[in-house]
Symmetry: D2
Subunit: 330 residues, 4 copies
């Protein structure tokens, strides 16, 4: 059986998904594509032998679409996911599931009312499929560093997308650390605070960098610095400090170049070289579960909700001089 | 179109190919399996929904086999590849193409007489599809270290397969360095010499470690140490030194663990964790070429022949107190 | 001219100073030693050909003592330094200058009233003489990472001294990070906050680890984790993130050992292997300044005072649920 | 007691020795300096408060010279060392002890005829005092990698001194690897061979790089690449591979700088930043032995002779198409 996938939104991320599904995922084919930019949709569709439709609604309803990927603008996610629930079609929605807690909570409630053995909604937190993070989780579970006490993480982009603001740093960038912290520690984030030094002069539209402190129910503290205009390269770091040791993601460079009195390793300009294989593995896992009729191993709608709840608490702290702020669960 | 693949030999390597094709390669399905151990064949076949046949000949002739993978014993390669030529079926033969120069040369000649636009024979030198080696090749081509002068390489296994001898180190292990050297430098190896220190007491059946010197037509010297009982871990290193710099494969550990007064990174016990993704990419590239009707980007029969020619010259040097020995081309 | 040095207190640190001065510092000799444990004093004195006296006061007054090193218990520092001022003798006092702001402030005031061209008091913040920190400072000054915005630091000990409590972590361990932050940034710390995750079960007498946030007048934020029972090794890290890049102390291991499926580098059990050369260079610099009649390049009494002021603010925050707390300057 | 040292030759190396002795070695003072360039001698002498004399002979005979350092041109070493023997003055001669086996052998013989408890001649193979090499030796002795089988080493300079030729690479650069190999393995080099790839176009006066193979009496093989115009940086590497593991010198960078899509560590332009502390420790050890009347722990005259014997065998191989060549002992 081949899973026939429709893809909504073929900007950078959606187009990557289309090509990955087409070229290197076993058991899937992209059949239908839609985008608000019809010519962009047509170009990608031709590349992989898919057809286009005018609207997301049309795509979701299409008989030759077994499952849907949503890579549209964040603001459209909730409505499109909701349509997938209406049509009982499995959907992989890019993070965030929706920009507000209310929208996410509503989707969770609706899906739970369906009482399906295999929930329909998956959320694209691809770091869960990054081999190094999986090894990190295994190392923690195996007790190699004892009971975790502290996580130190960094999230550094070269330059921010134009037009963003301080809250976007939290909801679009730090949201990955929020999810991976819950996933690594298997404990909910219950309390947060937000801090910031002087901002870079390279981006006057937001506070950058930011320091986020996330406390989980088991009283582990995660300190993340997020710097979306770090300039020097795309860089993701994570160290888990436990009672008897510490375990860290190793640098991911493939080569060392010695020249001009320097030994150098290259940073990627964006997330794609680092996480391309994670996206492939996430898509393969999603397709495999659909093929085999098993529960999706991806992040669930509730995971998507939890991440937004934490993000909202961080924004409350941001607007309240860094006050320690409890996370409210819907 | 889905390529229907038959797999001959499902030991460790063949079984990996079956599972990789089945689970994570797009556009292929495994339809027929054979192995001298019928029960092993049946087990793997059931796992992926393939059928079994009694002999390689039967598999190659099967109408539901579009293309063949040979992962049988080295001694059977030449005859099985030859049958594939008879049936005009594309074949991916694990290295070595055949254990002797004569057999390899004969296969090259036979294939060339067929005068096909797309040659049928591919050889499984998967390092050509290892992303770090590809980046290394790109770095060299881009001039980042100037004209190459010297390559330093290491090939270290934890323990050798029982029953091997000194020549097996060359034909089974060092053959990867032989191929990747030609591939990196785009120049033929024309002269070699073989050297060895005191052997490890852990393996009395062979000289181990061995030092191989390979000189290419462009006068670059490659110095490889091969140590198949290195004990400490599976480890592959390569540094290309050029006129203005040097470029090396970086260590490939995903994690660093700090504990017990040590900072540690883990070595794999064998090649599979390191090269699993290279095998996947090699198979995907092979399947893609078959699907698109283009020339296979894998190592060719002539590449397989060249590697064996170099290996034979090294064995001549081994038997001749390390004398500098020219490589004879068939 | 050879500087004749008297050393007060020959526990681990004082004994190291005596041996370093004796064996590898040019231009100095240890003439007089005192310790509350007279037999310990005698042993060390014999080792280097010095004499012993019964009290610190006697040592400071001795005619064959040109300069004094104080490595006694923290609680004795203020009085002993004060006696050195009385005798107009240059003194290198181990950190902290004194355990309280009031005592430090009093010493600063007294010294300033002397209005000497070359102040008498130096404080042993040896990290300022650690070559990697000096290179780090040079890199920042040279603009290699742009304007600093954020510092991330870690201070990890194997096990804490028995009998300590949460405030000792700040005044004895983190005080190094407090001083080095001021020194690196050339800006005073004006505001701090204290945070902590769940504590390790290995030490029930204190909160451990602790997270300290230090904000300098130029609005750079330093986030330090201090974990004095980290178990895995003695480890000091520092990364300065600026507008265009980041610069970090590199790991300081001399060797890599590959064995047992691991690549390992060794951590020291305590600070001595890491900072032995820093102590040597600090002592040499102190002796050179005395010899040449120039101003001591070591940390000054005011530096010692500033560090304690910051430590006290951190302790206020610790006792006030992590509240952001201004640093009061005396 | 202060050792009064006379220094012959104050080019780069000799001037460094003068300053090191003066500033950071305990128990020594530089009293007399000579150089064929009298003005250079005068400048350095004034810097450290020494006097100058016109000739090496005068310096060696001077009553205010207890011990001599020779950092003059290689060709003058033998005669100057011989004069030191005449005057029974301890001498530290920069490597090589002398450029020819005959000269070195003659000095060894002469010194042995003196039958002194503490031989007078020391040779400046400072790598023996490099802390990482010392840790490497300790690791080997402790059995951490089992019985050594193979050493892989690299010696890379940025640019060669003008006017050198292929033999200079061996006698001036590789001579350090020759000595350190004997010292690490505690076994004499008995057989060598010389090899070379295409030479860099940056230096037409010599074969560069060169590959040297050194076989010790215990049948360990050392493979060294020496590339004196490597351009990318001053770099020294050494890996000892044993029966159960491998141990390597770690990179020695103090900082990592992340900028411009690269993570970079800096190479020094020459040997001085890497080995400055080794020279200091070598001088201190030499002075300490003189002060205490014990045997010099530095390389001996015989060590200097052995190194030159190996170098001569390498040059025979170089002139004999890389033939395996036995080392002749005088």
């Amino acid at each position: 059986m081949t899973v026939r996938v429709g893809v909504i939104g073929v900007g950078v991320m959606g187009a990557d998904h289309v090509r990955t599904l087409h070229a290197v995922v076993s058991g899937a084919t992209v059949t239908v594509i839609t985008d608000f930019d019809a010519s962009r949709a047509a170009t990608i569709a031709e590349e992989v032998g898919a057809r286009t439709v005018a609207t997301a609604a049309e795509l979701i309803a299409a008989p030759d679409v077994d499952a849907v990927i949503i890579a549209s603008h964040d603001s459209a996610h909730a409505e499109q996911v909701s349509l997938c629930l209406d049509h009982r079609k499995p959907v992989l929605c890019e993070k965030p599931l929706a920009p507000s807690v209310d929208e996410c909570a509503s989707l969770v409630t609706r899906e739970e009312h369906l009482a399906l053995a295999n929930p329909l909604i998956s959320v694209g937190f691809m770091r869960r499929f990054h081999a190094p993070y999986q090894e990190l989780a295994t190392a923690i579970r195996s007790g190699s560093v004892g009971t975790p006490l502290l996580i130190r993480a960094s999230h550094r982009n070269v330059t921010a997308y134009p037009g963003g603001n301080s809250t976007d740093t939290v909801t679009n960038s730090a949201i990955h650390e929020i999810d991976i912290t819950r996933w690594l520690l298997r404990s909910e984030i219950v309390e947060v605070s937000w801090h910031a030094p002087k901002s870079t002069s390279m981006d006057t539209s937001r506070r950058d960098p930011q320091i986020l402190m996330l406390r989980t129910a088991d009283d582990v503290l995660t300190v993340v610095d997020v710097f979306v205009n770090a300039r020097y390269g795309y860089d993701v770091r994570c160290e888990v400090v436990g009672e008897t040791g510490a375990v860290s993601l190793a640098p991911s460079h493939a080569l060392t170049v010695d020249a001009s009195l320097r030994s150098t390793a290259t940073y990627p300009e964006d997330w794609r070289p680092l996480f391309a294989d994670s996206y492939r593995r996430q898509l393969q896992a999603w397709v495999d579960a659909l093929t085999e009729g098993t529960r999706s191993p991806l992040a669930s709608a509730r995971d998507g909700l939890r991440a937004i709840e934490v993000a909202e608490a961080l924004i409350v702290s941001m607007n309240n001089v860094g006050a320690v702020t409890p996370v409210k669960n819907s």
